[in-house]
Point group: C2
Chain length 561, copies 2
Amino acid sequence: MSHPHPELSSPPELPDGGLRIVALGGLGEIGRNMTVFEFGGRLLIVDCGVLFPEEEQPGVDLILPDFDYIRGRLDDVEAIVLTHGHEDHIGGVPFLLRERADIPLVGSRLTLALIEAKLTEHRIRPVTLGVAEGQRHRFGPFDLEFLSVNHSIPDALAVAVRTPAGLVLHTGDFKMDQLPLDGRLTDLGGFARLGAEGIDLLMSDSTNSEVAGFVTSEREIGPVVDDVFRTAQERIIVACFASHIHRVQQVLDAAVANRRKVCFVGRSMVRNMGVAGELGFLNVPDGILIEQRQIEDVPPDRLVLVCTGSQGEPMSALSRMANRDHQIRITDRDTVMLASSLIPGNENAVNRVINGLTRWGARVVHKGNALVHVSGHASAGELLYVLNLTKPSNFMPIHGEWRHLKAHARLAELTGVPKENIVIAEDGVAVDLVDGRASIVGAVPAGYVYVDGLSVGEITETSLKDRRILGEEGFVSIVIGVDSSTGKLVAGPEIHARGAGISDADFDAVIDRIEEVLREAAADGVGELHQLNQLIRRTVGRWVNDNYRRRPMIVPVIVEV
Amino acid sequence: MSHPHPELSSPPELPDGGLRIVALGGLGEIGRNMTVFEFGGRLLIVDCGVLFPEEEQPGVDLILPDFDYIRGRLDDVEAIVLTHGHEDHIGGVPFLLRERADIPLVGSRLTLALIEAKLTEHRIRPVTLGVAEGQRHRFGPFDLEFLSVNHSIPDALAVAVRTPAGLVLHTGDFKMDQLPLDGRLTDLGGFARLGAEGIDLLMSDSTNSEVAGFVTSEREIGPVVDDVFRTAQERIIVACFASHIHRVQQVLDAAVANRRKVCFVGRSMVRNMGVAGELGFLNVPDGILIEQRQIEDVPPDRLVLVCTGSQGEPMSALSRMANRDHQIRITDRDTVMLASSLIPGNENAVNRVINGLTRWGARVVHKGNALVHVSGHASAGELLYVLNLTKPSNFMPIHGEWRHLKAHARLAELTGVPKENIVIAEDGVAVDLVDGRASIVGAVPAGYVYVDGLSVGEITETSLKDRRILGEEGFVSIVIGVDSSTGKLVAGPEIHARGAGISDADFDAVIDRIEEVLREAAADGVGELHQLNQLIRRTVGRWVNDNYRRRPMIVPVIVEV
């Protein structure tokens, strides 16, 4: 297997007739999926998603792929293919279209409807081309074929990319539910047909490559939902992703069977279910929906609320209910169902919500105690089917952290893909398919681009490092005024601390020492501001460490009067 | 079931002949276990542990129980019974003994050896009394009987507390491995005998009350460890808790069988295994151990390193190996085994370590892909046995978050404990056992006491709130100098931001506005420092929000010259 070297240099010029593949996101992380294909000077982008920040990125709203690699060549982009409507595949589109608004967006009906609704909020009207499974479309040198795949959102597609360099199959996200709720299977027949034609490179979803066996059918959740509905005392509150249309359909069906009304709570839930309903992906029985203002008019044992917040998001309605900070006051007659996976990293937040709801007496049904969620990604057992059916000459695991990519590579090896034809690439690594052989040829920058408030890319690693220090230790500011002509101390030191656990009065003990240090400096002729700054920082930092064993940020401010 | 009311008032005086139970930690959280029993004016403490901070408590080292409830009555404390040697049961002892050093510590041989080693580091020499299963000891009015329990550390005890108010069985932490490695079973016969005598109150470990079924025997891990040893290419690195003596024994046994040398890495691992070896709880074959400086002398395929870091602790040797920031450089011939549970909240950190090690090519064996850990706490199936054998008149679930306490209460109800005799208490809630009936009578303060650096209790919720804001948003400081007699602006505004993602030069745009606001204030006769302070804070806060949609901490500093 070829591993990227940590210090890969810029890739060489792409040989004539070669296909270059550079993932700007999604390799080495689960999120911000974006792959750039290049042939004959033209570019094709598959997906453009966001990554949600972890505690290592405090205060950040979203993380984007770094568009720098293509920034100078946006006019060469033939199209952006969106495999499905999840945020980690479409969330970056508004930011890319800010740079060139008329790049054609290619996707299924539902996917385009979801991205269009999102773009409307960004006041962007995109150029779109709707496609469906079984269709072929050519964009410049890229001859694309779309195949249906089953996933945790309807209308998802895999895409086969044909160029003179060969045939590449990009699966998108998929699982292989053999009894899917909407009857739409992952097109294994199509995969086999392409395999027979000869797949030069398979790029396949690695999310669950470490999980042995097979994913349970979505269908198995129905009876669990029914049981919750049958046994609920009064209100039922269901929390799930705003994109999980199949799950919401199950809730609507159970509501009909149990003569309950349903209220969608929250902007993204209302918007997405509206889109899904209009397009016929969600079957909404007449009269079952009520508005949020009508909640009080429905008896609690006839009511279902469907909201987001299943990941414990602190500002979500569900978290606020758990904290008794919401107009809906949880009682011991309520049943709450968290019908979602638990995204790694959210464990503590979800745990807090479950404990909060339990404390007020609610019955809480979640993946820890009932089958209320199944994964949207194929497990190892299923990935082997795909590898055996497609028989690729080269294999590149995508959509996963290192552990997932590596485990998927091992599966490929077991099915007979030659070890030297398996490419484990990271974000930014350039993989060239030349003469039927895929190999790593270099790397381009593919760092995190942070969205924070209105700014994109202004928050740097330095800002985040400052936030981490401030968040752990707080800061101490020392203000002094010096006479700009004589350099003599005329005001201060005034010392304030926040988050350091040291009261301002405690600093009286170090003020004499600072004044002494400044006097010594004056006597020694040390007068440059940055030198005084450093002296003060060292003096106070040492004093805090000696007395408190802590290392807050020390911020001297010298004002010249 | 009686739930504590959020606004419980102070408990009334304890009736004559009544027993009062107040947990100062461990109810509503997993950690800082500490229970205070009171009878006839005398106190008995069971356990005194620490809680490890989560991201809600940034920068904090440890969380202690609040000793305030007993602070004025430390001379009434007869003893501290330590059920076993885990940090969440003994970690608070050094802090309590600072307040009265001669409170007798009562525990098994291993437990006392572990706490003594820890107290030596705190320069405290405690008064101790070693006890063993089957023994009875009287401390003032408290007649104690000790029973063996099986747990993930050897030599753990349950304690039965007899007073004229009745018989209380406190299980400590336990599981019910029926084929334990050391042959030491949880004494169900003893539990049954006490049940026959009549248990007035059972206090039982709730950690795994939500988990159906039975915990796998520790013995099942042996073959997995053996398999790792047989198939490892070169070095083996095992990470586990420094207290998991049984797990380390399995590693030593496998090392002997595979003719490898073992090196303990890290202070707590070396210390604890030394203690366990001396007392005979760990069987260390002659000549198998090597010192860390001898590592280079042993061929890599003859070497096992045993270290901590299985929870992804950033400064641990294992994390540093994953980041290539350690003298031991991971290669694709290394095998790393994380032979520990994953404590909730550490998922991201552990995931980062697994990905880091995988990236350097190591084979990583962990609970996600092999049976390398079993829980130390009885599951629901086993808890039912205990409830049925002890047949308590009253039940109080302990050692758990709300969800666990509630689930355990439900199990008690299913076994026939009357609902009205089940008490779900939180930290600080006073439960009185009077006339054979346990009930909630009030509550005392039982908040978090934070250890940060050298300070205990100085970090407040306000400091933590400041840290959270600073950690998410950074701060902006605005320094101005005013003439102390005229109030006129003589220096500044100087504006600096850290962690806010705004460069100092960007603030030029708001300086005019600040000066204008100050001029208006002067014209209106507004001159108090706190008023000017507020004006500046508002002006800058609004400007930042309008231009960046962010809310950093705004810190005006006015220096009078």
